[in-house]
Symmetry: C2
Subunit: 471 residues, 2 copies
C-alpha cells in the first residue's frame, strides 16, 4: 500500500476537527505513542501526528479525512498490548482514545454498564463493586489497560477459566467504521439473532475493522466467598499433569494459574517478596469463588485433595486477603519482572486443548536445550493458555538471538498446531505474529478474513499491517 504523508494542512484540519489541544506532532511527545509492551527497538514506529479526540463524531470526521487523503490510522488504548497492535507502523495518524473515559450509563435493572472505551478497565469494577456487582472479563493488566484495547484484543485474564474473556461480556457497542460511519451494534439483550453478530466480529479484530467508542458490558453478582490455594510440585510436568484432572473432576475454579520455578523466583526478586517453598519446581495458583464461604472451602478442599492425589508436594491455603494478594501479586508481576531482568525476550501466549497441555512442557524443555536459551513458562493453565517466554542467552550475539528466536518460535507454533492449538490465546497477532499466523493458518480462513477487511475498509487505512497484509 502507498499512503500519503500527513501535511501541515492536514494537521490544521485535524485541529479544526478536535481542537488544537487534541492534536500534536512534536517528536518528544509522540515517542510514548510509538511503541507498546513489545520491544520498542524491534517493533516501534513513530506516528506523524497524534490525535486525542473526545467524541465519536470527531473520530468519524478524522476517519473520513484519512480515507479522502489516504492516510493510515492506528487506534490506540493504553498501549499495554503485547503484539504491537497499537503501533503506527506506517506512520500516519495515531488515534488515542485516552480522553474518552466517561461512564455513560449504569443500569442496575439490567445489570449493565455503558462506558467510553478509554476507561482504565479496573475503574469499571471500582465503580460498581459497592452495588455488589462486578465485571469478570478483565485481563491481568487491569490496572493500566483500557477497555478499548481489551475489546480490540478480546483480552482474557486470570478469571477466564470460570468467567470467560472480554467478548463474553460485550453486549453492545458504538463503532466508527473504517469509512467513518457511526453505528450501534447489539444492545442490552440476552439474546439477539437480528442479523449477523457483527459485534462479536469486532471483538478481537485488533482495530482493523473500526474504532469502538463505547461499549455496554454485562455485569454479574460479585462473588462474596473465595478460597485461594497455592499448590507446590516437584516439576512443571507434575503440576501441568494435574490441570486436566481438576478440570474434568473438580468444581470449575475461577483461576488455575501455572508458574514454573524461574518465573516465581524472578517475580519474587523483582518484588522483594518470598513465597513458601519458593524452591518448588512449579506451582499452581488455584482460586475458587461463590456465594457461600463454607461451600467454597469444601470445593477448594476437594481440589486440594485431587492435587495431592496427583503428585503435589504440598497445598497451602491462602486464608486471608493479604496472603491472597501477595501470591497474586507475584503471578501478575512475572511479565514485568522478566522485562526488567531479561529485556531481550519473546513473551508468547500459545493456547492448546486442556488435555494437551501436559504435552507442551517436554517440548519447551527440548527447545530450551536445543537452542541454549531459557524458556520460563507460566500462565493460564486452566484455559490451556501458556506464557512460554523465550529469553535471550546473555552469551549470544543479537544476530544469533534473532535467528534462534525465529527458529524456536516457528517450532513452538508448529508443535502447538499439531496439538490442536493456536499461536495466540489472548495477546493477539498484531505485527509480532503476523508472519507466523500466515504460516499456520488455512489459506481459506485467511481469505475469508481478507474478504471482510477489503469490503469494510476499501482504502485499507484502518490499522493497516496488523494481523495480515492485503496483497
Amino acid at each position: 500500500m502507498k499512503y500519503n504523508l500527513v501535511t501541515l494542512e492536514i494537521v490544521e484540519e485535524l485541529k479544526r476537527i478536535c481542537g488544537p489541544k487534541n492534536v500534536f506532532s512534536d517528536e518528544e511527545k509522540m515517542e510514548a505513542y510509538s511503541h507498546d509492551e513489545t520491544n520498542a527497538a524491534e517493533y516501534g514506529h513513530m506516528p506523524e501526528v497524534v490525535v486525542t479526540p473526545t467524541t465519536a463524531e470527531e473520530i468519524s470526521q478524522i476517519v473520513k479525512l484519512a480515507n479522502r487523503e489516504l492516510i493510515p490510522i492506528t487506534p490506540r488504548g493504553a498501549g499495554s498490548g503485547l503484539s504491537g497492535g497499537a503501533i503506527p507502523i506506517f506512520g500516519g495518524i495515531l488515534l488515542s482514545v485516552e480522553k474518552m473515559n466517561k461512564v455513560l450509563d449504569i443500569d442496575y435493572g439490567n445489570m449493565m454498564i455503558t462506558t467510553e472505551t478509554g476507561i482504565v478497565t479496573n475503574e469499571i469494577n471500582n465503580i460498581i463493586k459497592e452495588k455488589g456487582l462486578f465485571y469478570a472479563g478483565y485481563p491481568m493488566s487491569l490496572e493500566t489497560c483500557y477497555l478499548g484495547g481489551n475489546i480490540a484484543e478480546n483480552a482474557g485474564g486470570g478469571k477466564a477459566v470460570k468467567y470467560g474473556v472480554t467478548g463474553k461480556y460485550i453486549m453492545g457497542m458504538e463503532l466508527v467504521t473504517p469509512t467513518g460511519d457511526i453505528v450501534h451494534l447489539g444492545g442490552k439483550l440476552s439474546k439477539d439473532v437480528t442479523g449477523y453478530d457483527l459485534k462479536q466480529l469486532i471483538v478481537g479484530s485488533e482495530g482493523t475493522l473500526g474504532i469502538v467508542t463505547n461499549a455496554t458490558i454485562r455485569l454479574t453478582g460479585l462473588p462474596t466467598a473465595k478460597s485461594t490455594l497455592l499448590v507446590l510440585y516437584k516439576t512443571p510436568k507434575d503440576a501441568i499433569d494435574t490441570v486436566p484432572v481438576i478440570m474434568a473432576k473438580g468444581t470449575i475454579p475461577v483461576s488455575m494459574e501455572f508458574m514454573d520455578k524461574l518465573s516465581v523466583q524472578t517475580a519474587c526478586e523483582y518484588l522483594n517478596e518470598s513465597l513458601p517453598y519458593q524452591q518448588a519446581g512449579a506451582m499452581l495458583l488455584i482460586e475458587v469463588d461463590g456465594t457461600n464461604q463454607e461451600q467454597v472451602e469444601l470445593d477448594a478442599e476437594a481440589i486440594g485433595d485431587l492435587c495431592m492425589e496427583n503428585g503435589a508436594i504440598e497445598v497451602y491455603v491462602a486464608d486471608n486477603y493479604t496472603t491472597q494478594e501477595r501470591i497474586w501479586s507475584v503471578r501478575r508481576n512475572i511479565a514485568e519482572a522478566f522485562k526488567v531482568v531479561s529485556p531481550i525476550q519473546s513473551l508468547e501466549d500459545i493456547v492448546v486443548p486442556i488435555s494437551a497441555i501436559p504435552d507442551i512442557i517436554p517440548e519447551l524443555d527440548r527447545l530450551s536445550e536445543m537452542y541454549d536459551i531459557k524458556i520460563p513458562c507460566y500462565g493460564h493453565a486452566g484455559d490451556g493458555n501458556l506464557h512460554a517466554t523465550l529469553v535471550k542467552n546473555p552469551n549470544h550475539t543479537m544476530e544469533h538471538w534473532h535467528e534462534i528466536e525465529a527458529k524456536a518460535l516457528r517450532e513452538l507454533y508448529q508443535i502447538t498446531k499439531k496439538l490442536g492449538g493456536k499461536i495466540s490465546g489472548e495477546h493477539g497477532i498484531g505485527v509480532k505474529r503476523k508472519k507466523y499466523m500466515l504460516e499456520n493458518m488455512d489459506p481459506v480462513e485467511l481469505s475469508l478474513m481478507k474478504g471482510i477487511k477489503k469490503a469494510w475498509d476499501p482504502n485499507y487505512i484502518m490499522n493497516p499491517g496488523k494481523m495480515f497484509d492485503l496483497e
Copy 2:
C-alpha cells in the same frame, strides 16, 4: 438475481457427486422440503432438486457446481425453523444434511463432542448423559431439530437464562464456504485470538455464509439437583413485573418462562392435561439447578419468597420428575397447540432488555384491542424474549387478516425498538422478517452485513433471499 434452472444434465452431475439415491426431484417427495414451521401457503416454495449428501467433500462439489451454473442452494436441517430460513424461495438445489448425523468424537478430557450437523439435538444429550455431562445450548424443539439448524439460527431455549444459547457452546466447526472451499474454524480451545472470530460470525448467519458440516461442542457437568416452581399470578403484568426483580436479586435461575392464561389453556386442551389453578391470569415457570439439592431448594425458596412479595397468588413446587415434566410439557407444546387451534397466526419472538419487559404487556393489550385479534403471549421472560403470537380473528377475512398482521407487526417491532429491543431473539429473520429487519435496522449495519455476504458469496448462490436482499 437471475438464476439458471436445474437441467437434467445438472441432476445427473449431482447424482455422480453424491450417488443416485441421494438426489431426487419428484414433486411428491420434494413437498416436505418446500416449507418449514411457518405457514406453508404464505412462505412455502418448491425446490427443483433435493440432495442429501453424506460428506463435506460432496457438499463442496455441489457448491462449486452451483457457482459454475448459477443455481441457488438452500441448506436445510430438520425444517423446524420458524422464519422460513430453510425454504428454497428461488427453487434450485435444496441441500439437506439429514444423512450427516454421525458423532465423530467424544473427548471426555476436554469435555467436548464433535458431531455432524444432521444429528437431532437431543441425541447429543442422550449420548453423553451417562458420563455426567450435558449440552445446555439447545432450543425447545430439541426432540426434532438438528444441530445444523441450531447453529444457523443461533437457537436459544428454555435454559438460556443461566446457560446461554447455541453460539456459546460452539467451539469449532467445519464449514463449506459459499464458493465450495472446506475450512475448519476454531478448535477445542477455551481462548483463541488468532485472527477474526469467524465461527461466531457463522453462528446465526442462517446458512447465508456457508454450510456447517460438523461442529465441536463444549459440554458442562450435568446438574444433579433441580427445583421447579410454578408461580401463579392474577395478571400477565403482575407476572412480568416480577422478572427483573428476580434477575437482579435472586440466584440466576436456569429458566424463567412466562405463560399467559390463553397459552396455558390452549396447551392444556391440546395435551388433555390440567395444571393447578389453570384459571390464573398468568404463570411463571421457574427452574433452579445445581449440584447440591439442599442449596438448590434454598435458592428456589428464596425466589418463591420474592415472587410472593411481588404479587404472586401462589407458588407451587414441582417436587418430582413426573410433575416437572408435566408442567414443562405444557410449556413446550404451546406453539404446537396454537398451530392446531389457530393455524392462521404469526408467532413472534421479540427481545427487549429485561427491565423493559413489563412495558411490553400493556402494548400487546393495546394492539389486541385496536386490531380486534387475540395476542396470547408466552416465552423466555428471563431473557426478555417473548413469544407474542398474533392470532387471526375467525370473523375476519384473509385479506383483512394480512392487512392487520402487517400493521400490527410493524407496530410491535417499533415498540420493541423503542424499548431497546430487536425483532428476533431466537427464531431468526429468514424470509418472514426480512422486510421488517430492513425497516428497523441502521442502514450502516445492513451495509456491513452485505459487505461480508458479497465478499464471501460473489455469485449470491448460498441461501439467497434470506435475512436481506442484495441490490
